[in-house]
Symmetry: C2
Subunit: 118 residues, 2 copies
DNA sequence: CTGAATCCAGATGGATACTG
DNA sequence: CAGTATCCATCTGGATTCAG
């Protein structure tokens, strides 16, 4: 009977799928930088993020913010100013990413040393 | 004097860069699945990984394994069998990713529930 | 100010066939 | 078995312009 092996592989598949789910929500060149920018300041306007995230274009920023909103990681609030301004904020769910981002940051530092600076 | 703000922003930039360093090493459609496959079994052959990672082509597998090797996350060992076989294994450094992968997996499960199943 | 629309170059990745 | 080479469709993302 090969149940043990089968179950083991099933677990492995589930694990891989859930990691992929996470990565799908975070993929895109700027997502993590955008999240960092917002969470760092609490609330953040479109043009602010545009300045924070070095190199991003308004086209990409708009697109990735929309995806983050779809994934319920940020909220978008239009303010009735003249001209209008828009505030982005992390949702509670978005905030749960902070642990992961911290760990990625930590690993990234070690990794960079490993590859370059030795 | 604006030192506090400046330092804060400096910290933020560093953090974003190191996260990006980490993501650079892990980007690519299959990297995490490949790492999962290898670490799950200890050692793994090319054709094994090809089977484990659903949907990957030999072209992509070859390419991403090469990148993982460059980033010193896996080692490649040619065995003198007939025909030759190749074993891939996680380096010590590659193994340090397990925590992050676990967390991503955990977050991915919560996230999927949030977005779909409620 | 906050985007959306268009255009376009370059990267990504699948299918297939081939080599040692 | 473990890749490499080639062809080709699609995706990505920058620059620029336009709109509410």
């Amino acid at each position: 009977m090969r149940c043990a092996i089968t179950e083991f592989q099933q677990e492995q598949k589930k694990r891989m799928r859930s990691v992929q789910d996470a990565m799908d929500a975070l993929n895109g060149k700027w997502k993590i930088a955008i999240i960092s920018s917002i969470c760092c300041y609490g609330k953040r306007r479109f043009s602010d993020i545009l300045n924070d995230v070095e190199g991003v274009s308004n086209r990409m920023l708009s697109k990735e913010l929309k995806e983050l909103e779809l994934n319920q990681l940020v909220t978008r609030t239009v303010l009735a100013t003249q001209p209008i301004t828009v505030e982005y904020e992390l949702t509670e769910h978005g905030n749960t990413l902070q642990t992961i981002i911290s760990e990625l940051s930590g690993w990234g530092i070690v990794h960079r040393k490993k590859i370059t600076g030795k």
